[in-house]
């Protein structure tokens, strides 16, 4: 091992990874620029940031599988600066590269995959059998040992990837975006397994994610953007950097209220009918009165004040850095006469079979003009099939549907003229410039040259594309590309807009701007928007939600309705802060709180009777000598709703199949 040149005093005794002034260049492009971080034994360290922030490069360099330009990377006290040095620490590291299940071998079975990784790491046979059994049981994959990896679901692939990474019992696990593309239930499962592993084995984990709402799950974290580290520390430290509060309320007319608030506040968001404002004031009453002043004669109702979430903090930090947005807020969204009557989208008993498999089962819903409707569900729940049927791409097996007044069965072409469609992949031509792309789409929809010029001006202004007109699309940042794709979908002034997973890989500011445009389209131009997503923080922006499970709609309502339904059924969310979360969590499970789960350094538990339960859990923990720092009630997130709903359904299914089996 190499001698280190840093003096021992600056070295934390438990430091596992130490990165300083790290720079990684790919030819001329600087991917990571001057990052410092220190990962300590036993913690989950998070790297948060959108696509292209530099997370993967940094993690690969730490895992010793990528060279870097400047700075130092020390892992377990070894300076990783050459292939030879990297080899010294690799046995103690487990590395899971990005991409769901991509590093696994599709034609090998679950067990063969695990065995390969174990034998590559020279895990002794008897240890392998024991470890494999334990990990398979922990991930509930033991029933699928013989199944080929390619036949597993996304969540199962992710768990198998985790087992393969941990099979040699590494001291440090480096996991690159392990939760991307996985449904919320599997994501939650994943965090629970990881937390358990950390507890049991005393392992350390360095985990990256693009989901801002996962930030609170880390003990400490760094937020990266464009290769730079904006902030690092514990979630509490990060939150303390930007003191303030989030005020959420109803205000009508919404566009008017938005416009007034934007004059004084930089972070204003429309969440369905509600407005969400970040204020610098930490005092609730003061914050509300400031907002009331800004609103003037528009009166807020249903006001609620919360601590800011980490995502709000990141956005505030990004905004501090960024120039004042080039967005053209003066662009108008002209209301157009509707050329149809009745609801914008109506589905009645839609059914679609693929052979014996029923992908969509009796789906019925309605979307009014000017409404943002969210269709949620895990991969394979049937969301995309519903969209394909409504847009006339795929004939239904049964049921009826109308889009913008046209019947889906008979008027497919009329439908295509009246709708805009934007897919996950942003169907843009990457070799064309921004203007060329817009003109191309105008040509496809048969716009004449006057209309084309007019729409071109409008789209450039609306999407904030000034200055990018002659840039090649492939070189644009993801957020800009996404707004261009939206502009192209709107070129023929559609009355109904379908968005299929529209915001993957976009940074939080980009996402907020995108949603701002959507909400203005809906509120001011009266466009009806149907959006599918499994980014549940996005779903908060919708007026109305429908949750799909196994082809059926299993829950429906506005985001706040859905939350209160679950609160009613399952209880409120309590967050417990203690010195020894792992031990406390086990203790709570033993004391009857079966749903207790580790959430970063805190514990979450659902409670139907918060006051009584708080007393009970404080007693349970005190008897074990655990000091409770705080117990607080947290608002339920849509993810909590989703997970609760799906878990309940899965339990029902299991119970039903047991009955029929018996």
């Amino acid at each position: 091992m190499k001698e280190m040149e840093t003096e021992p005093s600056s070295q934390h005794s438990d430091t596992v990874v130490r990165v300083s002034q790290f720079v990684k260049r790919y030819k001329k492009h600087v991917a990571v620029d001057g990052v410092d971080l220190e990962v300590r034994r036993g913690e989950i360290y998070g790297l948060i940031g959108p696509d292209g922030a530099g997370k993967s490069s940094l993690m690969k360099a730490i895992a010793g599988v990528l060279t870097y330009g400047e700075g130092t990377v020390e892992v377990f006290g070894t300076l990783v600066d050459s292939e030879r040095a990297a080899e010294l620490v690799k046995q103690r590291i487990g590395f899971l590269p990005q991409g769901l299940g991509l590093n696994l071998y599709p034609d090998l079975s679950v067990e063969e995959n695990i065995d390969f990784f174990a034998r590559l790491r020279l895990v002794p046979k008897h240890e392998l059998a024991e470890r494999k059994a334990r990990l398979l049981a922990m991930t509930r994959l033991d029933k699928f040992r013989e199944r080929a990896m390619k036949d597993l679901s996304g969540g199962m692939k992710q768990k198998l990837g985790l087992i393969c990474t941990l099979i040699h019992d590494p001291e440090l696990a480096i996991l690159d975006e392990p939760t991307t593309g996985v449904d919320p239930v599997s994501r939650r499962d994943f965090w629970a397994i990881l937390a358990e592993f950390l507890q049991e084995r005393g392992m350390t984990a360095l985990v990256s994610t693009a989901y801002m709402d996962e930030a609170a799950r880390f003990h400490r974290l760094s937020f990266l953007s464009n290769g730079k580290q904006l902030v690092s520390g514990t979630p509490a430290e990060v939150q303390a950097l930007v003191p303030g509060s989030m005020v959420t309320f109803d205000a009508a007319p919404q566009p008017e209220a938005m416009a007034r608030l934007k004059a004084s506040y930089r972070q204003v968001e429309a969440l369905g009918p509600r407005l969400h404002v970040f204020t610098d004031s930490t005092d609730a009453a003061q914050a509300v009165s400031q907002i009331e002043t800004a609103l003037g004669d528009v009166k807020p109702s249903n006001v609620r004040v919360d601590e800011p979430e980490l995502e709000d903090v990141f956005v505030a930090l990004l905004l501090r850095r960024a120039e004042r947005q080039a967005a053209d807020d003066t662009v108008s969204f002209p209301t157009t006469n509707r050329d149809y009557h009745g609801p914008a989208i109506e589905a009645k008993g839609l059914v679609r079979d693929f052979g014996p498999f029923r992908a969509v089962d009796q789906v019925t819903f309605r979307v009014e003009p000017g409404e943002i409707f969210g269709l949620l569900g895990a991969n394979g729940a049937g969301k995309t099939t519903v969209i394909k049927m409504l847009t006339g791409i795929m004939p239904p097996t049964g049921g009826e549907g109308w889009v913008a007044g046209a019947a889906m069965k008979t008027a497919g072409d009329t439908i295509k003229e009246r709708i805009g469609y934007m897919s996950q992949a942003f169907a843009l031509y990457l070799d064309l410039t921004v203007v060329e792309n817009i003109r191309l789409f105008a040509g496809i929809y048969g716009l004449d040259s006057r209309a084309t010029e007019e729409r071109l001006r409008w789209i450039t202004a609306m999407a904030g594309l000034h200055g990018y007109e002659s840039s090649q699309t492939g070189r644009l940042p993801m957020g800009v590309r996404q707004r261009l794709a939206l502009g192209c979908a709107l070129v023929h002034r559609p009355r109904v807009l379908f968005l299929d997973e529209p915001t993957s890989g976009v940074d939080p500011i980009g996402r907020r701007r995108f949603w701002e445009i959507l909400s203005r389209l809906a509120r001011e131009e009266g466009v009806a928007i149907l959006v599918t997503t499994h980014y549940l923080t996005e779903a908060e922006h919708c007026d109305h939600l429908a949750l799909m499970y196994a082809g059926r709609i299993v829950a429906e309502g506005s985001p706040s309705d859905m939350k209160s339904q679950v609160e009613h059924e399952a209880g409120r969310l309590l967050e417990i802060d203690t010195d020894v979360p792992g031990q406390a969590c086990r203790q709570l499970k033993g004391a009857g709180f079966s749903g207790a789960a580790l959430y970063g350094a805190k514990i979450h538990v659902l409670s139907r009777n918060p006051l009584e339960d708080e007393e009970r859990l404080r007693e349970a923990l005190a008897s074990d000598g655990v000091r409770v720092k705080a117990v607080s009630e947290r608002p339920l997130s849509l993810e909590d709703v989703f997970v609760h709903r799906v878990m309940t359904l899965e339990q029902q299914e299991r119970a039903a199949s047991r009955e029929t089996g018996a």
Binding site: Y26, K60, A63, G64, V65, L66, T67, S82, E83, A86, E87, K90, Q91, I93, G94, F95, P97, Q98, G99, L102, N103, L104, Y105, D107, L108, E112, F116, F117, R119, L120, R121, L122, C164
Partner: protein, 384 residues
């Protein structure tokens, strides 16, 4: 080097290979297919040339002359025509590649001792074929003229037919073809096709196999593990070498049993050289896989590197000795030539290591050098 790691990588690779139906198909069908397609397609013998005749003389001598074409195994007699127009039609349509036109008074003038021109029309689209056709026509014409002369000498000098023949054709050419006794081009091309198939499939499969891991990201399992480069490369390449060697045996069987090419040499020498050659060509695949990062690029680069020099400079079609000096030097740079020499040597000449040792040595050096370079270039800590 830890042998259990090599075995781990090799057995994983093997399982993936045999479970991928497309791969199995490609790996075992492609070389055989190439062999069959080129074995039948790359026949350079010019035989059974379709021929038509136009006899304006209708004499016994003209019939006698034409009869020699009709019965020749080099010509395929298509019919006797009646006028010039028809000759044009037959040649234009490609139904005939040659036409023999006998002028009027053919017999009369010959018997009168006057010279006669027989018009011969040959399709010159392919110069090589036209030249060979011309050669056959000249030979048949020469034989006929010689016979006429001998007849004349016999009649005028009162000699026996045999004696007259000796006078008319004093020098008799006696040709014995060695090695390829029947001068069949198939016997010469098919051993070279074994080389061609083994030069194409193994590098392609190897390069695709490694680049696939780069593309999917599973190569990071190796990068991030403690498995050494040698362990990984040895294990990864072993199944490809095995599959390719099995192919070499299959191709040898195909050449001897199906195409009936005689094998006169030492089978062990041939198989040993084939193994060296397979190690060389998989080594080329390894190098390609290090340089490129997508499967499609691997496909294109391998096809260019493997096919062009192999077709041009390995003695498959044109003998290396008849190449221009520059091309001759290039041919010695590519490994294909050495194995072609070994294949032809063992199949047709039946020579052994005493003659072929430089070629065997060259292949061994290639196999070793390519692996060494591959090992040096492969890194578990790449730049990007």
């Amino acid at each position: 080097m830890n042998l259990s790691r090599v075995a781990t990588v090799a057995s994983k690779e093997w399982r993936e290979m045999v479970r991928d139906r497309m791969f199995v198909l490609l790996a075992f069908l492609l070389p055989v297919l190439w062999m069959l397609v080129f074995g039948y397609g790359l026949v350079l013998d010019v035989e059974e040339i379709p021929v038509v005749v136009l006899d304006r003389d209708h004499s016994s001598l003209s019939r006698d002359y034409l009869y020699r074409f009709v019965t020749s195994r080099y010509f395929d007699f298509k019919g006797s025509l009646n006028d010039d127009g028809e000759v044009g039609v037959w040649l234009d349509s490609g139904k005939a590649r040659a036409a023999i036109v006998i002028p009027e008074k053919f017999e009369e003038r010959l018997l009168a001792g006057q010279p006669v021109s027989v018009q011969t029309l040959i399709d010159g689209t392919f110069p090589l074929r036209a030249d060979i056709t011309k050669g056959y026509v000249i030979a048949i014409n020469g034989a006929f003229s010689g016979d006429l002369l001998a007849d004349y000498v016999a009649r005028t000098r009162g000699l026996s037919r045999k004696g007259a023949d000796r006078l008319a054709r004093p020098i008799n050419l006696e040709v014995r073809y060695l090695y390829n006794e029947e001068v069949r081009s198939a016997w010469s091309t098919i051993p070279a096709l074994v080389m061609f198939s083994l030069m194409l499939a193994p590098p392609l499969l190897t390069a695709l196999g490694i680049v696939r891991e780069k593309e999917s990201g599973s190569i990071y399992n190796i990068y991030s593990a403690t498995a050494g480069k040698v362990e990984y490369l040895a294990g990864k390449l072993a199944p490809y070498v095995l599959v390719s060697f099995v192919n070499a045996v299959v191709l040898w069987l195909l050449a001897t049993l199906w195409f009936g090419v005689p094998f006169k040499g030492n089978v062990m020498l041939f198989l040993f050289s084939a193994l060296l050659f397979v190690l060389t060509s998989t080594g080329i695949g390894l190098l390609v896989s290090i340089v490129v990062s997508t499967q499609i690029a691997a496909l294109i680069v391998t096809m260019i590197i493997a096919t062009l020099p192999t077709i041009l400079f390995s003695g498959l079609i044109v003998p290396v000795s008849s190449l221009s000096p520059g091309a001759w030097a290039q041919a010695h740079f590519f490994p294909g030539m050495y194995f072609t020499n070994i294949a032809r040597g063992t199949f047709l000449k039946g020579v052994g290591l005493d003659v072929l040792w430089p070629e065997v040595l060259a292949l061994a050096l290639y196999a070793a050098a390519l692996r060494l370079v591959g090992y040096r270039l492969f890194t578990k800590r790449p730049r990007s």
